[in-house]
């Protein structure tokens, strides 16, 4: 066996975004020897991109708000497919998690009374998002990063985990490489928390960074933990569309929360034409009522621009298809004509900056051109709602990589809360689990280490294989064109046959150069993960024969109540050559929660 760097911990957290850092803090404070391993430098994880805020029913702006209202909004936003228990815990615990950040040094914007200010967002009945201008994610990650550093958690930066180890059916550790040197590293740990975020890099137009290659999703599958709800991918309605190099970069929903409206090329506020039956009762049907709502939420209904993201993204898609799009294939997002330049610069400083510097557009004077961009995956590792443990003992998932919390569609602002609430729960339970197995710690087999090394180095061994960048681009094109925002059985079937071809191509990649900080090599390893999650998305999308939330089937346009009782799950097939889907009944909501819905929760 080769000699590689080895470490022993009670809990190893993979990923250093909001969920990973909160999990590590939770595990550390519960007494576990804890390490965080992350692909980038500390503080650069994708959480930093979150703009709008953290949804938490603190009631600072609207005293009428409480966890029941937040729970109801979350379930309705998710088209009732959410795991009710996760949505409940999230709504109940988010306020404490926000206040905790404040006690660690976060500086949120304030109300006149000096409390944390809260802003409006799509799908939330009351102004509920704790925020710092439009850079809330940065505030959150910096706060958690500084807390983790202050309490002395070990951080392994620029270190990529490629495999998990098991001893029997239990997790026993993880294997990876240092990006800087290319040298290998192994962690012995009875508990591993996946906090690796999402999968956006499988799509061509995305708001996600290079790290979002579905690593945790794939590691879980390989370890035997099923994924749930993978057909549900959120296309954020407002990504930049021009210039081409910034296509997909996020434009925060706060623009709409703070008064911005969507118009087509004819200048029409078209969202009034797209109010679905499900949200009619709570959505304004005239511009006058919509405009009054900003100052009086009690006597007016919400503007249709603030419908959940899936509704708005589909509407934009339809307008562009109908020929009412902008010159660069989007629609207009206009706040310039509705709010003062001073208000816009104060509330949306980084949007102002982003458009000014990257697109030469002054958003205080002219509308933005925007269109849908792949933003978030609702699907993820199936976990126990209270502990976040997957079906594999010792393997946890928290944040975007976990499934269930958001059902068929996530509301804006519910991600940052999710990271905190379930990061903490995962960290604490992982520490407790590690303590329980202390006398029977699972071990890493030497053969597994040797095999992991061999697999990681394979792209260097092959001569004349394909360039990983080309394969990545082709995969992104395939997913974008065939499994994107609107799907049909024909196209998804085509995508699946291409995915079979990609398997051969990914197995035959070659990389140039040596192991030291070699992005081509890193991509060749990440591509395996991207391909596996792409197959999950395609298989689940083909299986669910209805339209709901972040899954729209042109051939099954209606929402089908019988599908509302079923979760689609993915696991590796017995031969481990591909993905198979299976069904599970949705967990039954208790009666006291059902009463929160007009229709009894059906």
């Amino acid at each position: 066996m080769s000699e590689i760097e080895r470490h022993s911990y009670d809990v190893v957290v993979i990923g250093a975004g909001g969920a990973g850092l909160r999990a590590a803090i939770g595990a550390h404070e519960a007494g576990a020897r804890t390490a965080v391993v992350c692909k980038s430098l500390l503080g650069k994880a994708h959480t930093v991109m979150a703009e709008g805020g953290i949804a938490a029913a603190m009631g600072n702006v609207w005293a009428e708000d409480n966890w029941q209202v937040h729970f109801r909004d979350t379930m309705r936003g998710g088209k009732m497919l959410n795991h009710w228990r996760m949505a409940q815990l999230h709504a109940q615990e988010a306020p404490d998690r926000v206040w905790e950040l404040e006690s660690w040094g976060a500086l949120f914007d304030r109300t006149k009374e000096g409390k944390i200010s809260q802003r409006d967002f799509g799908g939330h009945r009351y102004a509920r998002l704790a925020h710092v201008g439009d850079r809330t994610g940065l505030e959150m990650i910096r706060t958690l990063q500084q807390r983790a550093v202050a309490i002395g958690i070990d951080v392994f930066m620029e270190c990529t985990i490629t495999e998990l180890f098991k001893d029997g059916d239990r997790i026993s550790g993880a294997f990876g490489y240092w990006r800087e040197s290319g040298r290998f590293i192994a962690f012995e740990a009875p508990a591993v928390i996946l906090a690796t975020g999402g999968i956006g890099k499988s799509f061509k137009v995305t708001s996600n960074s290079w790290e979002y290659t579905g690593d945790g999703h794939a590691l879980a599958m390989e370890a035997g933990a099923p994924l749930v709800n993978m057909e549900f991918v959120q296309f954020h309605p407002t990504g930049m569309v021009w210039p081409p190099s910034v296509r997909g970069i996020l434009v925060t929903e706060s623009v709409r929360g703070d008064g911005g409206v969507l118009r087509n090329s004819e200048g029409k506020r078209f969202m009034f034409d797209y109010i679905p039956e499900f949200f009619k009762a709570e959505t304004a049907d005239t511009e006058e009522e919509a405009d009054r709502w900003y100052d009086d939420h009690v006597n007016n209904r919400r503007p249709p621009e603030l419908l959940p993201r899936d509704e708005v993204a589909r509407a934009i898609n339809s307008e562009v298809k109908a020929g009412r799009g902008t010159p660069h294939g989007g629609v207009y997002l206009d706040i310039a004509s509705r709010r003062s330049a001073e208000f816009i610069q104060k509330r949306l400083p980084s949007m102002y900056h982003q458009f000014k510097e990257l697109a030469d557009v002054d958003i205080t004077k002219e509308p933005m051109e925007i269109g849908p961009t792949c933003h978030y995956v609702m699907g993820g590792v199936e976990v126990d709602p209270d502990t976040q443990m997957s079906k594999v003992p010792g393997l946890y998932a928290a944040g975007e990589v976990a499934g269930g919390m958001h059902g068929a569609n996530r509301l804006g602002g519910n991600s940052l809360g999710d990271l905190l609430v379930f990061g903490k729960r995962a960290g604490e339970d992982a520490a407790a689990y590690a303590a329980r197995v202390v006398s029977s710690r699972p071990k890493i087999a030497d053969e597994s280490v040797t095999a992991a090394e061999k697999s990681a180095l394979a792209p260097f061994e092959r001569e004349g294989g394909e360039n990983p960048y080309t394969v990545q681009r082709d995969l992104q094109e395939t997913m974008h064109n065939l499994v994107g925002i609107i799907r049909t059985a024909d196209e998804v079937t085509q995508a699946l046959s291409r995915i079979e071809e990609f398997k051969g191509r990914v197995a035959n990649l070659s990389v140039e150069g040596h192991r030291q900080y070699n992005p081509g090599w890193h991509l060749s390893i990440d591509l395996k993960n991207m391909l596996l999650v792409s197959e999950c998305i395609a298989r689940a999308a083909l299986d669910r024969k209805e339209s709901r939330g972040g899954h729209t089937r042109d051939d099954y346009p209606a929402t089908d109540p019988s599908w509302g009782k079923v979760n689609v799950l993915c696991r590796l097939n017995d031969a481990r050559t591909g993905v198979e889907v299976f069904h599970q009944d949705l967990p039954e909501m208790p009666d006291d929660l059902k009463q929160l819905f007009d229709d009894g929760g059906h």
Binding site: W104, K115, L138, W210, V246, E357, H514, Q516
Partner: protein
């Protein structure tokens, strides 16, 4: 609209390296990082570069472009003449790992030395009350994306490795200022800032402020006020005698911007 961009990119490692010439097709509206990515995808698969958000929010892709420290993702190619050669080199103050990637661990070590935010012991989470106007000063510094360009241009360490152990640098001066100006923090870090973190080395040339992609007024709003506060504590016996663990926030007279001199008669 597109054209062939001539680029020179530094390639090498800790043992040395050289500028390598490339010609890469680019399109309208692109930024330097797009050109670097196209090089990676088509001509130099192992070209090492850090990046994450590609939207100026994470501070990963710092480099020197035609000698000027900038974020590659926020540097539009339209600022250069199409005939011009664009030269990209790694930031100079930190040791090269490979190509455009440098060892920035200095900054993470300095971060560990900052005593954390400490609220009053009897104040429960949820009970914090702060006015917007009082949090805004610290909020300015919390906009920092940790691109470390300010550290890179700071004369104290750019060409003086020997100063690094005793100098936190502008990024951390704003962190100390942020905590000092936090309405509810109870720890006094001023002696530490002077004695261990080298605030006195700074001679207010404002290079850090000039390169900050977040437009944080590092010198005027953080370094100068902190120099003032440190000096007050150090030399004014009355202040030293009466100061609480943390002095209440008061507006201070800014330093004379032309000389960097501080008016000690004011304040306290």
């Amino acid at each position: 609209m597109g054209y062939d961009l001539k680029m020179r990119v530094w390639r090498g490692d800790e043992n040395g390296g050289e500028l390598v010439d490339f010609t890469v097709p680019v399109e309208e509206g692109e930024v330097v990082l797009d050109a670097i990515h196209r090089l990676q995808a088509t001509q130099a698969g192992d070209l090492a570069v850090r990046w994450n958000c590609k939207a100026g929010k994470c501070g990963s892709c710092s480099a020197e472009i035609n000698g000027r420290p900038r974020l590659m993702c926020m540097t539009r190619l339209s600022v250069f003449d199409p005939a011009e050669t664009v030269t990209v080199t790694p930031v100079r103050t930190f040791p090269v790992i490979r190509d455009l990637v440098t060892d920035v661990s200095f900054n993470y070590e300095k971060a560990k030395q900052v005593p954390a935010f400490s609220p009053p012991a009897d104040l429960k989470p949820g009970e914090y009350r702060m006015a917007q106007v009082d949090v805004e000063r610290s909020q300015e510094f919390r906009k920092c994306i940790e691109c470390f360009l300010c550290q890179n241009v700071c004369h104290v360490i750019r060409d003086h490795d020997e100063n690094k152990p005793a100098f936190a640098g502008p990024r951390f001066f704003i962190r100390y200022a942020e905590l000092d100006m936090h309405p509810l923090d109870t720890v006094d870090r001023k002696d530490m800032l002077r004695e261990e973190q080298g605030l006195g080395f700074c001679n207010i040339t404002k290079c850090c402020t000039e390169v900050c992609p977040e437009h944080i007024k590092i010198t005027d709003n953080a370094i100068i006020p902190m120099k003032e506060r440190v000096v007050d504590v150090k030399f004014d016996p009355w202040t030293k005698f009466t100061r609480r663990r943390k002095s209440p926030e008061q507006p201070r007279t800014p330093a004379n911007p032309s000389t960097g001199e501080v008016d000690h008669a004011q304040g306290a």
